[in-house]
Symmetry: C2
């Protein structure tokens, strides 16, 4: 019998909180018997939503909190001052071992600060990276780090490569995942100072399957399973991915509506196109795991609807069952010896 996974869920974080978060949590416990959700937030707002829903009551417990960290708040100050916020209380549940994981769609900065300060890093992990799955022509690729750390050093990137490989192998079932480093050219002599220092370290590392430089134009084609970069560049990649996709799709929709003839055509292509574009929607893959912490923290998009929250919660079960953090501990300590 598999062990129960306990997931703390920040009911007040995100643009659509608490309604979509609570709905996502109800759906998750309805789908899997192996999950218990601890929902932190304003009980007066949460309870009516729960009362209207149908779900296994014994798998969901509410924990009342009185404060909310807003999207616009300065992260460090918010984490320090709002001790009774839905996010901080949920993080403490993970810290104290009362929950295995946390799912939140709240203030990204606060999640990153709280992850390091409250939940804490695994011993030996120097920086904890945020690692979303991004859609490609062939499936998904793990982009690590997409913004948890700026000005990272070569040693950090090597740890990112290991953690990302463990994640893709254990969670996504990809044997010997191909690791690339974001570079400004395919040749080995290319790169800025950081990449030039990191490249030989990755190449020499026998625990990962390093296949070389990933030019940005090749990221969407899906030739890499894990793409390593420092957080500033990763943040640019993630956000540009979303930005170019959204702009292009809106231009295409506008183009299709521009003539009578194209409007007729649009009606015909719509169903097929909807399925295609769904595969390129980052929300389909749940939230981004914040790896290397004492427990799993999953950051969902601020705009998350119930479906993404459900996916993020379900993702925690596999993370827990596959003992990702124990594998990370072993891999990191192996290098340190």
């Amino acid at each position: 019998m598999s062990k129960m996974t306990i997931v703390a869920v920040d009911a007040m974080g995100g643009d659509n909180a608490p309604a979509e978060i609570v709905k996502g949590a109800m759906e998750a416990v309805s789908r899997s018997k192996d999950i218990k959700v601890l929902l932190t937030g304003d009980l007066q707002k949460i309870e009516p939503i729960l009362a209207a829903g149908n779900y296994p009551k014994e798998q969901l417990t509410c924990i009342g909190t009185t404060e909310v960290i807003e999207t616009s708040e300065a992260p460090v100050l918010a984490i320090k001052r709002k001790k009774d916020s839905s996010l901080v209380v949920a993080m403490k549940l993970v810290k104290e071992g009362k929950a295995d994981a946390l799912v939140t769609a709240g203030n990204t900065g606060a999640v990153l600060v709280g992850g390091q300060v409250i939940v804490g890093r695994i011993k030996g992990v120097e920086r904890a990276p945020l690692a979303p799955l991004i859609p490609t022509a062939k499936g998904v690729t793990l982009l690590i780090d997409c913004g948890a750390n700026v000005d990272a050093r070569a040693g950090h990137l090597v740890q990112f490569a290991k953690m990302g490989s463990i994640y893709m192998e254990s969670i996504m079932g990809i044997k010997n995942p191909k690791v690339g480093i974001v570079n400004n050219g395919a040749e080995e002599e290319k790169g800025n100072a950081l990449v030039k220092e990191t490249f030989p370290l990755l190449k020499a590392n026998k625990e990962i399957n390093f296949v070389g430089s990933a030019e940005a134009r090749d990221i969407p084609s899906g030739d890499f399973d894990v793409i390593v970069c420092e957080g500033f560049v990763g943040n640019v990649i993630l956000k540009l991915y979303e930005g170019v996709g959204a702009t292009l799709i809106s231009l295409i929709k506008k183009g299709m509506m521009s003539t009578f003839r194209s409007k007729m055509g649009a009606l015909l292509v719509k169903p097929a196109l909807k399925d295609t574009l769904k595969t390129f929607d980052t929300a389909e893959y749940g939230g981004a795991p914040f790896l290397g912490l004492n427990g799993l923290v999953v950051k969902s998009h601020g705009s998350s609807q119930a479906g993404e929250i459900t996916n993020s919660i379900l993702q925690c079960v596999k993370f827990n069952e596959e003992k990702i953090n124990e594998k990370i501990k072993v891999a990191i300590q192996k290098t340190e010896e």
Copy 2:
């Protein structure tokens, strides 16, 4: 009467050389009486293409060269050794003042090295940036630097902002162009060490219209006229732009061909969609100017067809007539005083 602009064209550079390059040159001189082209390359290959074309002969002169720098060659060595290559000879024409500008679709690395070493930088310009126009929902944005320099410093980025502003104002006719810096968040306290150092310098500079941080997701929406970043990040942005666009368009085409119904629809939307997607095609805007050199160097895509070469050559006329380099000289020296 406007002065003649003399453009050296590297007939042997690029995937489609020399045929498409020569055709592009013939078209450019056919379209404008104000251009004279000096075509460098293998005469045995160029002359038959010219013989088959119809163009004003007095506006196009061939200069025979015996060597070609291949795409795969190491740039520094190639520039040093292949003195009689079509690229090096064309660059020397600019250096010696025999041409105002150079257009090439050849080895990017060799163009960047040769630009600095042979053509040389304007006095006071510390780094010469490559600055392509990228398509947005509202038109185009100048991305500066997109890969000529990695590990740039704050002072370099300030020069890039000035050169980019001059270009957009003089060439694209945008009054007081809005300058943004690529950042990992919209707030002023965001950024890596380089951005944090550069931000206040741009903010304090009265010669540019600095409007703040550009998050990568906002680049395609077109709210900035000039987007400043160091070359590694710029290279990632440019290539990801092309990569995401190409992948998404190919997925959409595949989606449209997936059912009988959608195939019928595709036939109807095709003409309207073609126009829309054209606005998002980077090749439509000619090559990328390599700014801050003693003369203009324009780098066209390696995959350039005749049309892009023609656009790149025509672009040199405006650059020359608007005296961009004299404006850059004045702006750079003003800061140095």
